[in-house]
Symmetry: C2
């Protein structure tokens, strides 16, 4: 069989989450938020991290877009927290990945099965 296949959702999702974690600033933010089990202001983070405010805001936006964190507006602040549900999902996916629990059949699929499903 030499047909080109498409990636499954699992593979695409793993890549998407990995991308969200592919910068030290974002790794740090996620580690801190998941550890604190509480929330955090953008202003607190910019004090510690070696980037400017607007750059930090971009990183927060990316993590939000990836669904890994969420912001709650508490004027004049915005409190950022881990998105527990998606974070647990990410953890499970990665655990499967690292422990080789993902079956070969979950790596690729034929185009047809995507179209007709």
């Amino acid at each position: 069989m030499s047909d080109k296949l498409e990636f499954t959702q699992e593979v695409i999702e793993l890549a998407r989450i990995s991308k969200a974690l592919s910068h030290p600033v974002r790794v740090y933010i996620l580690l801190k938020l998941s550890k604190m089990d509480s929330c955090c202001y953008s202003g607190d983070l910019v004090e510690e991290l070696p980037v400017g405010r607007s750059t930090l805001s971009q990183h927060l936006k990316e993590l939000k877009y990836a669904g890994l964190i969420q912001g709650e507006i508490k004027p004049p602040y915005i409190k950022y927290c881990i998105n527990r549900k998606n974070w647990e999902r990410a953890k499970k996916l990665f655990a499967s990945f690292l422990n080789n629990d993902l079956g070969v059949s979950t790596l690729l699929q034929k185009t047809e099965s995507l179209i007709h499903s």
Copy 2:
């Protein structure tokens, strides 16, 4: 304390590995190689994956550079395998990350401690 800090090796390494995993082709290759517990030719992969030969070669190069795989020349082929040692290290790092086993003190460090250590 509002001094800017630097990232620890753990944070930098997590970001680096995540970056290597931030593309579906690379996730697929790593999953396949770690699952097979054997090796794989570039030619086999290009048959399955939706990218051309030179593009696949780039992805393999990146994974090699990240230390996650290694290539053994078996003319006229090159056999690619998981780099077991580094893969185990990556697994441990990620497991700590996902389980919140990394202490807060392992996230950032003062510039001084880098310079004088």
